[in-house]
């Protein structure tokens, strides 16, 4: 699933009078309760977030503890004492699939949010600078963006990870750097439209510094479309992490990740060990779906033209 293009994003502006914060939250809650899917998406994401943060407390086993005698046990298999030891079964080394799934959520969310934060921060700063200053700086930053867009991202990521080596930090960095262009282009377009507005001219006339105008005056007014993009972007970054881990270029194989679990399941699928692929696959699908639904809702919610339209 790809993030929406610039054309799909909603342009908001300072022309509307900002509602008091409490009203906004109340309106958001009303909108969420009216539309069931975004609420479900939030519930799913909350569950995954809790699982990620409370992993050690709620995981039934050590995710890396092997027991090769008990390898490839199907889900809900009872032992001699009539007790289910592994609710979602075990993998090829006898590790508990449920525990690995719970710990895998950590990596997916960590990589997803951190990479989007890095890409967003970099993109917004560069995009706003380009849009506000214009001229050669604008041209230079935008040509950089064009060059990066000319490379297929996954190929670029593979190239960097082969050179730098795999690992969470490198993965987050490359995924983050890969996202900046999207934010930069939106931030630039928004800044260009805002800098001609009277409230910006007034701030400059009152002697405010350019950096202050840029980040204190303009930024709050262009945040809405960026937040929408970020919500979609988290989903695509999680998918990219899964793809890179599947290719063996993500985090080290000893760290449980959903993509890595999928990769390990390859050789077992022909033999009918479906649980090794289905559970991490469903986890990835649910997370990505939830972020996308949430992104759709945010886009509609923050669009003044759709206000009051269900």
């Amino acid at each position: 699933m790809t993030p929406p293009s610039v054309a799909q994003t909603v342009v908001t502006g300072p022309s509307r009078t900002p509602a008091p914060r409490r009203d906004a939250w109340r309106r958001a809650w009303r909108s969420l309760t009216k539309a069931v899917w975004p609420l479900l998406a939030i519930v799913v994401l909350l569950i995954i977030t809790v699982a990620a943060f409370a992993g050690p407390a709620i995981a039934p086993k050590d995710p890396n503890r092997q027991n090769i005698i008990n390898r490839l046990q199907p889900p809900m298999q009872v032992d001699r004492a009539g007790v289910v030891q592994h609710y979602l079964g075990t993998d090829a080394l006898g590790r508990d699939v449920l525990s690995r799934l719970i710990y895998g959520a950590r990596v997916s969310l960590l990589v997803g949010f951190t990479a989007v934060f890095i890409g967003g921060a970099l993109g917004v700063v560069l995009g706003m600078t380009a849009g506000f200053v214009g001229g050669r700086i604008d041209a230079f930053i935008m040509r950089l963006a064009d060059i990066q867009l000319a490379f297929p991202f996954i190929l670029l990521a593979i190239m960097f990870l082969v050179v730098l080596g795999s690992g969470v930090l490198n993965l987050v960095l490359i995924l983050g750097i890969g996202q900046w262009v999207t934010y930069a282009r939106i931030a630039r377009a928004q800044t260009m439209s805002q800098r001609e507005k009277e409230y910006v001219e007034a701030a400059l006339a009152l002697g405010a510094r350019r950096a202050s105008v840029l980040f204190k005056t303009i930024l709050p007014n262009i945040l809405a479309p960026l937040i929408v993009i970020a919500s979609f972007n988290v989903a695509s970054v999680i998918l990219a992490e899964a793809a890179l881990s599947f290719l063996g270029l993500g985090v080290p194989p000893t760290v449980p990740t959903w993509g890595g679990m999928l990769a390990e399941s390859r050789d077992q699928l022909l033999a009918g060990r479906w649980w090794l692929a289905v559970y991490p696959g469903v986890a990835i699908m649910l997370t990505v779906l939830a972020f996308n639904i949430l992104g759709d809702w945010l886009r509609d919610f923050l669009d003044p033209r759709l206000r009051g339209v269900d």
Partner: protein
């Protein structure tokens, strides 16, 4: 109407294209799937087993080793050894020729040996890297059109077996090519001629008409396909698109057997899988964990680690077969009869570690260490390495397993600079026809295959004693003494001889060999 025609044409084109990719082989064609492609097809520079498998069909050798370990004539019909045992003269079969029509004589045979040693060409493959080092090769000379003599530094009891791995090729064709040209344009001398090579996809060979050693009923064409994924190889086998698949995952054996289109042949292989202790000074100087280095240089720790790992369970669970743990580097039945494999004894391992001066700390850890392993090179290697790591951690040796890509990272690390470790998992090809062949990995301290850098003089002085006698019984006594030294000093964490699983289509008759060689000249259609 035009759009409809276009759609139909597109559909037809696509169906033909897919047919071309997934077509079942005809009655004259045998398709073999291997996990990796050849990197070069130069007879003097073959390296990996998949490469050597293809080369064995393109080029002949002076003698051959059968799957039972017997040495039989091939390009050479007879041979004699001089009194000191340093020269073996081979009388070649008259009338041989290479695939380009050039007559193949003793001059070409001598050239084949000498070319592999040419310092200007700087080959690093099996012939210069292992065969010549183990053989003590000095030179080859043509005494006449039919007589070629191989000169060695000293008598070598396994010389014939080693010489039988050197591919014979024609001088004129190879003199006319540069090293790079020769790597891609093989001119063969064996039962099959080269037709085409689509990199990372397939190599196609065609049977040579009137080949003097041809087997009746052999296939007209052999297609060597590259299919990296084990599950894809299995699926292609069960779909009938492939006849022989190497490196079948044991977890897929039951599914393949149940398909009715193929069966899995399991053979007790000869590849020695072990965890090496990197004992080299240059590695120790550069490694950032001096406690681990100090520990593995202590023989008590090495023995303790041998006791800590349950190799039998690893075999049963991860390799899908029972196996007997190795006592050293020699394959059965040539291993010493009096040696018992290290027993799985975690309590004993803990006692030895205490005795060596590495008690458990407050966190239960004695010391930490890194185990590096290739990923997808040997049967289930990554999982085996992870399991070894777990067993070692269980006795307090906190082991971090580092899984590395074989070709791009592991090979340069271990063969390029012997810098893998402190623990490294490795497999080394072996044989069943003579203990000395397996022991030749440690033929000298600086041998390319002595990856641990082990330098125990009690072992290495044994080679001169073996060369000094022609009495096989006396040699065997020395061999057993050397293997006892190896067992006691434990430069390897001894694991197992890798079982091999081959998927074989039910439409052909073919038997897998123990030595990992996929030789299909005798494969026939049922």
């Amino acid at each position: 109407m035009a759009i409809r025609s276009l759609v139909i044409a597109l559909a037809l084109g696509l169906s033909l294209a897919f047919q071309a990719f997934a077509q079942a082989p005809d009655a004259n064609t045998l398709v073999v799937a291997q996990s990796v492609d050849a990197s070069k097809l130069d007879p003097a520079d073959t390296g990996s087993r998949p490469e050597a498998n293809i080369a064995a069909h393109l080029w002949g050798t002076l003698v051959q080793t059968t799957s039972d370990g017997d040495i039989v004539p091939y390009f050479a019909e007879t041979w004699t050894t001089n009194d000191t045992g340093t020269e073996i003269t081979f009388r070649m079969v008259p009338g041989l020729q290479c695939h380009d029509g050039e007559p193949l004589t003793a001059i070409d045979a001598a050239y084949s040996f000498n070319r592999a040693k040419d310092p200007e060409l700087a080959f690093t493959g099996n012939t210069p890297g292992f065969i010549f080092a183990s053989l003590g090769f000095v030179e080859a000379r043509a005494d006449s059109d039919l007589d070629v003599t191989i000169v060695m530094e000293q008598r070598n009891p396994i010389a014939l077996g080693l010489i039988g791995e050197v591919f014979i090729h024609c001088m004129d064709s190879y003199m006319a090519m540069s090293k790079d040209e020769a790597a891609d344009n093989p001119v063969g001398s064996g039962p099959y001629r080269f037709i085409e090579w689509i990199k990372d996809d397939r190599i196609v060979l065609e049977r040579v008409a009137d080949y003097p050693f041809a087997v009746e009923g052999a296939f007209e064409r052999i297609v060597w396909r590259v299919i990296p994924e084990a599950s894809t190889r299995a699926a292609e086998l069960m779909d009938g698109n492939v006849d022989i698949v190497a490196n079948v995952s044991p977890d897929q054996a039951a599914t393949i057997d149940a398909s009715g289109r193929a069966t899995v042949q399991a053979v007790a292989g000869t590849r020695r899988i072990y965890v090496g202790f990197n004992l080299r000074d240059e590695f120790a100087a550069s490694h950032d964990n001096p406690i681990a280095i100090e520990a593995i240089n202590n023989v008590l720790v090495r023995r303790a680690m041998n006791h800590a790992v349950d190799v039998e369970t690893i075999c049963t669970q991860l390799l899908g077969t029972d196996c007997e743990r190795a006592t050293g580097l020699v394959n059965p039945p040539n291993d010493p009869p009096d040696l018992e494999p290290y027993a799985f004894d975690p309590e004993g391992a803990e006692r030895l570690l205490d005795e060596a001066g590495y008690p458990r700390g407050a966190d239960g850890v004695r010391f930490s260490i890194r185990l590096q392993s290739p990923n997808n090179r040997y049967l289930n290697d990554a999982n085996v390495a992870l399991a070894v790591g777990q067993y070692l951690s269980d006795v307090g040796v906190q082991t971090d397993v580092d899984l590395l890509d074989f070709s791009s990272v592991y090979v340069p690390l271990i063969i390029g600079g012997n810098m893998a470790g402190p623990l490294f998992l490795l497999g080394s090809g072996g044989a069943t026809w003579n203990a000395l062949y397996d022991m030749a990995d440690l033929s000298r301290v600086d041998a390319g295959t002595n990856y641990t850098g082990w330098d125990n003089p009690d072992w290495f002085s044994g080679w001169d004693r073996i060369a000094a006698t022609t009495d096989e019984a006396e040699q065997r006594v020395i061999v057993n003494e050397m293997l006892q030294v190896f067992y006691d000093d434990a430069p390897w964490l001894m694991m197992y001889f890798q079982p091999d699983f081959y998927g074989v289509s039910t439409r052909i008759d073919w038997d897998a060999r123990r030595d990992e060689k996929v030789i299909v000249t005798d494969a026939t259609l049922r």
